[in-house]
Symmetry: D3
Subunit: 135 residues, 6 copies
Amino acid sequence: MATVKLWTDEEVSANPRVKAIFDDIRATRKTDFVNNFWRALANQPELLQRTWASIKEVMIEPGALDPLTKELIYIAVSTTNSCSYCIHSHTAAARSKGLSDQQHAEFLAVIGMAAETNALANALQIPVDPEFVVD
Amino acid sequence: MATVKLWTDEEVSANPRVKAIFDDIRATRKTDFVNNFWRALANQPELLQRTWASIKEVMIEPGALDPLTKELIYIAVSTTNSCSYCIHSHTAAARSKGLSDQQHAEFLAVIGMAAETNALANALQIPVDPEFVVD
Amino acid sequence: MATVKLWTDEEVSANPRVKAIFDDIRATRKTDFVNNFWRALANQPELLQRTWASIKEVMIEPGALDPLTKELIYIAVSTTNSCSYCIHSHTAAARSKGLSDQQHAEFLAVIGMAAETNALANALQIPVDPEFVVD
Amino acid sequence: MATVKLWTDEEVSANPRVKAIFDDIRATRKTDFVNNFWRALANQPELLQRTWASIKEVMIEPGALDPLTKELIYIAVSTTNSCSYCIHSHTAAARSKGLSDQQHAEFLAVIGMAAETNALANALQIPVDPEFVVD
Amino acid sequence: MATVKLWTDEEVSANPRVKAIFDDIRATRKTDFVNNFWRALANQPELLQRTWASIKEVMIEPGALDPLTKELIYIAVSTTNSCSYCIHSHTAAARSKGLSDQQHAEFLAVIGMAAETNALANALQIPVDPEFVVD
Amino acid sequence: MATVKLWTDEEVSANPRVKAIFDDIRATRKTDFVNNFWRALANQPELLQRTWASIKEVMIEPGALDPLTKELIYIAVSTTNSCSYCIHSHTAAARSKGLSDQQHAEFLAVIGMAAETNALANALQIPVDPEFVVD
């Protein structure tokens, strides 16, 4: 159902710029599997390169937030944006990073409560308490 | 700018049902400060009661996700829903639970990347890889 | 804070096309008050004309849904879209059409539940039951 | 395409806590059919219990808004959130509660107008008229 | 998966009001192909008529923005709203109006950057610079 | 109302990394004015650097889409995401790049129509025509 062609491994191999990025995806993630997101972006090599560089820096390199927390934040945004592809791929990623059933249940409870109270606060147009503002 | 009246402490004190909930909010959070969200919901005592009971269970009682992680997930949803009140109140809550500047910076990077790749995946209507589906 | 000029009554009076639409707004609504939405659209007379014609047909002319129900549906969409202006103006309109406090409380409960279960259903990517599909 | 397992009746029967909730769903709705939403939530018994209790209180128990109006408000939120599952299930629910073709047509017209004017009001950043604010 | 029936050409031919609109769609677009959007709206002849009249005026009649630019703006909104149908149909329309691969790549980069910076600006609740406000 | 501190020119000057980026923003845009978005991001120098680099590449460097078209696409996304800051700043940017009143009026008409038909297509869950799918 894509609006663009998904590149096969053969097509990737025939394009040195795209092949170098796919090689780095495989080496960084230590798996031969490259998911459709990258096969779709292969049509736009510059966007592919910039997006992969950012994802690698933001989601994979070690930092102050652990990898599982980052995945949960990612799924929270993707769920609110109704991005079916992103919800599927990052829920799988969260599982591979150790998401337990209990954690998933609590995650779902939090995004549900957030969505509900967002609706209430927006409908009531509640003014921000001065205590919450940074001068 | 609210679409409903915000209840003062005097008005709260005059309504036993609302007062009992405000007392529990103050006792649970160990502070006398009650923010505008609850002062707006006071107009709907049933909704106030159910919402506070859920927030207490989901956001405050100990579980498999730590309190700061829950706040970040909450802000991620609220940002995507453009809920100004919720972003302000839960960013303040995250700070009070120890959010460091470095963690905030990484959080912002993650929600930015998620929003960007959501737009790309949606615009390209990328089909979900079979590897990501739970049978 | 508008991104365009808001037309004063003097400016409206100087433009026959815009004036005719403002006259119809006032006559149809039986009030001299014309809210900022129309004063902003006055910059684009064609859009003003088409939007007012549609609003009049959809929201004001009698039909199978009563006027208050239409306002609640309108606010539900506006809240989910975080349109502050629309939430304010249509909550006021709903009140002028008889919205009671109890109805407002139930409305808030429904939009809250919908937002919460939308988040859950999206996060779980639940497949549609065949019973819900129209052949 | 779910990100979690959907529970079969056999699996439900083997879990007393989940079974009790499914029994109540069937008894309350007076039908043996239990849709996939609840079969997905069965993985998180606490969330299942809290969500069903809220849905029952908000959507099923009699109140100041009639059941069909509540369904229309629900679909309005679900459409704006692009929740495919929720749109399907609640459009079916609205039909079972008597939604006529003419009412559906008017409902569609209202959500269309709301979405359009939300876009206009947001793009123009129209300031809220003082007349619409509750002090 | 529709929530309404999609009208076949036979059903269209049997309804003079709907047939007249379908005839105009075919004549205006110079093709016999009528896509499912109009076959679904055929259930609501008034909405069909008003929507087609607006689409024709806004998207087809010549103006100050060229047709391809209008399609890109349309897809940008549809992507952000996660409207799968609209993304597919208007990406096809943009291609038929000359969208090049390089333009598509740049379009994707722009909507990605916009979504990312929207998330950042919302999460940071940045106040609008006075320089950007129209008095 | 920001959730972070906005950096003054004095604070920027005291931080060489941030100062270098602000210098580049001023040189690239040929103006001394630096808007609040960058003053907020200054708290996160890495994010500031990566975001400015991307904005410069995507929005400023010449390509296959002209600068005004990119701004309109940007505003379309920002409006749909209800990002008040982004709508203000990019409407001002579009004006500085030559947006005429007639173009603005047509832009508003297009995003209004897109939002309206998104709501209709989502509510009707219209299946994608095979003609629109890329194999």
